[in-house]
């Protein structure tokens, strides 16, 4: 390796990591939090079969799952200003990533809710609990355990999808790699380096998922 290349790598690594920690990770957390709220709400509306709202939820899932994330980002960031709706790049990224992954996660959560046996609800009623109490103390915790591996999957997918925000000018980790590359032109080294940092982040998330699953399993063993 030439000294120049080595210097480029050692100079850029802390810069990229810095953007990763300051932008990519918070962007992931914010978008995931939004996706989680959306998905639980959308899943509960379908589970409880709330008339009217249910159709809106199916429509949302249909639109989001049927169009590419990149197109959605462009539509909101470059398209909506034509209608007078102007959002900054970062809020747009959070909103679109959250809405996008939220649709997939809603199906995960709905499936997990429906996997909880009907008998759990009946037993709850028979010991005098009301619907809300049964949902919060019995059904949702069990559904959460079922959904946990798939939700972790979504979070890992989302971490990588934040790189798409580069296309709407969000200065995140991948965009930073592009900027540095524009100056020094070492695409293999720089994109390899940024790939490595994504890999490190995802490895940490996978490790956290593993810890979480162990903890959930300890609290209650496998489903009978």
């Amino acid at each position: 390796m030439t000294e120049r290349l080595w210097n480029i790598l050692t100079d850029s690594f802390p810069k990229l990591l810095d953007y990763g920690i300051r932008v990519t990770i918070p962007l992931t957390i914010a978008s995931f939090a939004l996706a989680l709220i959306i998905s639980v709400a959308v899943a509960l509306i379908q589970y409880a079969d709330v008339k009217g709202l249910r159709q809106i939820c199916r429509f949302y899932i249909w639109i989001v799952r049927g169009t590419p994330l990149l197109v959605q980002l462009y539509l909101v960031f470059y398209g909506l200003p034509k209608l007078g709706v102007v959002l900054d790049a970062l809020p747009t990224a959070i909103l679109v990533l959250g809405l996008n992954e939220g649709a997939y996660m809603a199906e995960t959560v709905r499936g997990a809710l429906e996997s909880v046996s009907r008998g759990q609800m009946e037993a709850g009623y028979c010991v005098g609990l009301n619907y809300l109490q049964i949902m919060t103390h019995v059904v949702l915790p069990q559904a959460f355990r079922t959904a946990f591996p798939a939700l972790s999957n979504s979070m890992i997918a989302m971490l990588k999808e934040t790189s798409m925000a580069a296309t709407i000018t969000v200065m995140e980790m991948f965009r930073q790699a592009q900027v540095i590359n524009g100056r020094v032109y070492e695409p293999l080294a720089l994109y390899g380096e940024v790939a490595l940092i994504y890999l490190i982040f995802c490895t940490i998330l996978t490790w956290l998922q593993h810890k979480g699953e162990k903890r959930l399993a300890a609290y209650g063993g496998k489903k009978a």
Partner: protein
């Protein structure tokens, strides 16, 4: 008279499952509800606790009158407060420990203090021989143990009557005895019980009344002893005979 059900009707998808069932239960009665599969026994029991909405019928409970089809949510809650329901497949809360399974209803629905609820729960669990498994999760228990915990969960709220829906049907044969002996103990303590069952020994020796159903109707009802020794209807005789034959 403690409970009276009058003319309970129910249909599913055009099929008439209950064609007007009536039943009277006195305090301390142990009523065995018998009949071939598909006769509507379970549906009848579920209608009494509003787990199914009957198409028609009346429930008189503790002198209070309820319409099984139209009862309001508050009325249903009031009936359920005085009753307990034991399911065929236990339906313990899978994310809760044995102790929490019993206390959940007391603390949330009964607004009881945790310490008091724990005390009541431990007593109920000891009564069914499960006092040593307080911190186990349902998945760590055998079917017989789970069913005993489910009975304790029912007992904890101090119900006036306990409904049992085929409590031993999902159990391995060697586990049936432990559940039946708990139920026998409750009967001896004077608990009022309504038991849908295929356990003929229990019906014959523990229950004092029998309600024999077939095809959604009551074929015969009366004291257990008379039912087993002198069944009046041909269908009852055939049923008792087929069960005895199957055992040989």
């Amino acid at each position: 008279m403690m409970l009276e059900a009058k003319n309970v009707r129910k249909h599913f998808d055009g099929l008439e499952v209950l064609k007007g069932i009536s039943l009277t239960v006195e305090k301390g009665d142990v009523v065995a509800i018998l009949g071939p599969s598909g006769s509507g026994k379970t549906t009848f029991l579920r209608c009494l606790n509003f787990l199914e909405r009957a198409d028609a019928g009346e429930l008189i409970f503790d002198g209070e009158r309820f319409d099984l089809r139209t009862a309001a949510r508050a009325d249903i809650a009031r009936v359920r407060k005085k009753t307990a329901f034991v399911f065929q497949n236990y339906n313990l809360f899978l994310n809760k420990t044995v102790l929490q399974n019993v206390t959940l209803g007391l603390t949330l629905a009964g607004k009881m203090k945790k310490a008091q609820a724990n005390e009541i729960a431990v007593r109920a669990l000891e009564r069914v021989g499960m006092g040593g498994k307080l911190d186990s999760y349902p998945s760590q228990l055998s079917g017989g143990q789970q069913q005993r915990v489910a009975i304790a969960r029912g007992l904890a709220s101090n119900p006036e009557i306990i409904y049992f829906d085929e409590p031993t049907s999902a159990l391995d044969p060697e586990l049936i005895g432990e559940v039946l002996s708990v139920m026998r103990g409750l009967a001896e303590d004077g608990m009022t019980m309504l038991v849908v069952t295929h356990e003929m020994d229990f019906a014959r020796n523990v229950s004092n009344k029998v309600l024999f159903m077939a095809d959604g109707s009551v074929v015969e009802s009366g004291p257990s002893k008379a039912f087993f020794e002198h069944p009046q209807q041909a269908r009852s005789r055939d049923f008792i005979k087929s069960i005895l034959d199957a055992r040989q």
